[in-house]
Symmetry: C2
Subunit: 97 residues, 2 copies
């Protein structure tokens, strides 16, 4: 089992309409290395540390847990639920248990 981060990252970056380098720079990477690093993450060659993954998620408007979610259906739900208000999430949690 290899990390779902690569595919989720690519998908979210494309939705945001950014190049690999652009995204890397926005995350605070050196412009000279941003392209190579981001590509290595997207191709699954290397894995970013958590702090970097969190910044990616914030920049791309998805919950960081989404990047690590191996189940497509749950991944979708994570994105949708994250957009709810706190009270709505509390309500949903109540209803589910």
């Amino acid at each position: 089992m290899n990390s779902p981060l690569a595919h989720r990252l690519r998908s979210a970056r494309q939705v945001a309409n950014l190049t690999q380098q652009q995204l890397g720079i926005r995350l605070g990477m050196d412009p000279n290395t941003a392209s190579a690093r981001m590509n290595q993450y997207e191709k699954g060659k290397h894995a970013p540390d958590y702090q970097t993954a969190k910044r990616m998620a914030d920049e791309l408007g998805v919950p960081v847990a989404y990047l690590y979610c191996d189940d497509d259906q749950l991944a979708e739900l994570i994105c949708v639920i994250a957009k709810l208000k706190e009270s709505e999430k509390a309500e949903l949690l109540e209803k589910l248990r």
Copy 2:
């Protein structure tokens, strides 16, 4: 921002009523190093690679995304939702959008 994995791991391990070493051994680690490694993960000293985190999650009965979730409310929802049937998840997703 440091990784939520440490705290989520401890919490899930304690619910499962396992020692750090016991859990490490179940994940396939060398019994001589299982204790040290698991402790380093739980104290946030080091981060496991994804494959190890996935095995932890499977063994502890939580979705792997839960270990990386930085929002407590969303983390709870992830655990509860993961227990639903596929059809129920599909239904929930429909309703939310």
